[in-house]
Symmetry: C2
Subunit: 197 residues, 2 copies
DNA sequence: TATTCTACATACGCACCGTATGTCAAGTTA
DNA sequence: TAACTTGACATACGGTGCGTATGTAGAATA
């Protein structure tokens, strides 16, 4: 029985996204060649432009996939914590550690914003931001956090985490600076508490 | 009297950097054409490759210039404050506001890290980071801040400020979210204090 | 089975970067 | 000051990569 059209199309989309993840992570967005990328999965640029419109569209799809994975993982880690406050700290630490992955760092943190613009304007609306924003909202409702703007808090926290990761990744001794970064992150986050520690 | 060689060379370097600032800010790094850029100041790519090596070299020079301007400005603003703690807050607010400038945002915050890598590895070593790091060090020495790693704190604070700025710039109503961002920044920073407010 | 549709391949043009080579004026030496 | 050297910049070329216009084979539909 021959394959249905939609099936092969889904497969090809997935193949292209997977190849793009590797290429973008390894060479960076601009240095990644679409010809090479598509040839690796036995397709041509024709398939690419048909499915994603242009090179940016492919990047957007890749970013969306990685962002979703990060968000669901952060959510799980946050949910495992004893309470929402511990959950927020755990989420932050998780983001820092996830951002050490070259794929995440290069694609989502560096090329993503530079090529696609602000994460809140991405099609995925940056699921990561949504997750921490909701956690912050719960904590404010519980009266544990100061009544600040939830989105502002989420943006600044994730921004701090992101820069921590960039710093760690660029450092000569990542294992040494990771705890320092997490320590600093916990201190900063504590500033949001009504009764700081 | 004819101009000295070194004089005209300095002039040409300055002209190219100025043109690049405009082009990079307006079109972004990758979309900026070196031919257009150089033609605007009546030069050719020959001058560019002789002076800066390649396109990245030109970006590095531009980033260095803007970064220096930002650092000196932040330092002045910080120094005007009553004490070092107020200075740190003022510096942070200043970064947020400076990052609203499209030139700063596009070149230093988006394309800079994506093309040149981590700011701490830049030739300028990111003067901005150095300034806030020193302020943090002074505050730790004074016993006002918890004894955390100064570089970690500086990185996370500047990261938070940067993301605040990106958020503001991308928002529909910048004038509305700016105070929210600054408020959140002050709350976060307070987490570093030994005796939080 | 004949026809339509479409996912993808093929082919072309254009823009751009980097380098290799050329050139002329500013410096240098005698 | 005249011959020579240096180097800052211009010119010319090749290679690569993106986007689009056009072609095509196989699935969908009747």
């Amino acid at each position: 029985m021959a394959k249905r059209r939609v099936e092969t199309m889904e497969e090809n989309r997935a193949k292209l996204i997977a190849a793009a993840r590797k290429a973008f992570a390894k060479k960076g967005y601009s240095a990644a060649s679409m010809d090479e990328l598509t040839a690796e999965v036995s397709l041509t640029r024709g398939a690419l432009y048909h499915n994603f419109g242009d090179k940016r569209g492919l990047l957007a799809a890749v970013v969306d996939q990685i962002d979703s994975e990060m968000a669901s993982r952060a959510q799980k880690i946050g949910a495992r914590a004893g309470n929402d406050w511990q959950g927020l700290l755990a989420e932050g630490a998780a983001y820092i550690e996830m951002a050490l992955d070259p794929e995440v760092q290069r694609i989502v943190l560096l090329d993503g914003p530079a090529v696609l613009g602000d994460p809140s304007r991405w099609p995925s609306q940056s699921s990561c931001l949504q997750v921490t924003k909701r956690t912050v909202e719960r904590l404010i409702a519980q009266g544990l956090l100061k009544p600040i703007d939830a989105e502002a808090a989420a943006r600044l926290l994730s921004g701090a985490a992101l820069n921590a990761a960039l710093w760690i990744a660029a450092s000569d001794d990542p294992k040494d600076v990771l705890p320092k970064a997490i320590q600093a992150f916990r201190s900063l986050a504590a500033g949001l508490l009504v009764n700081p520690v």
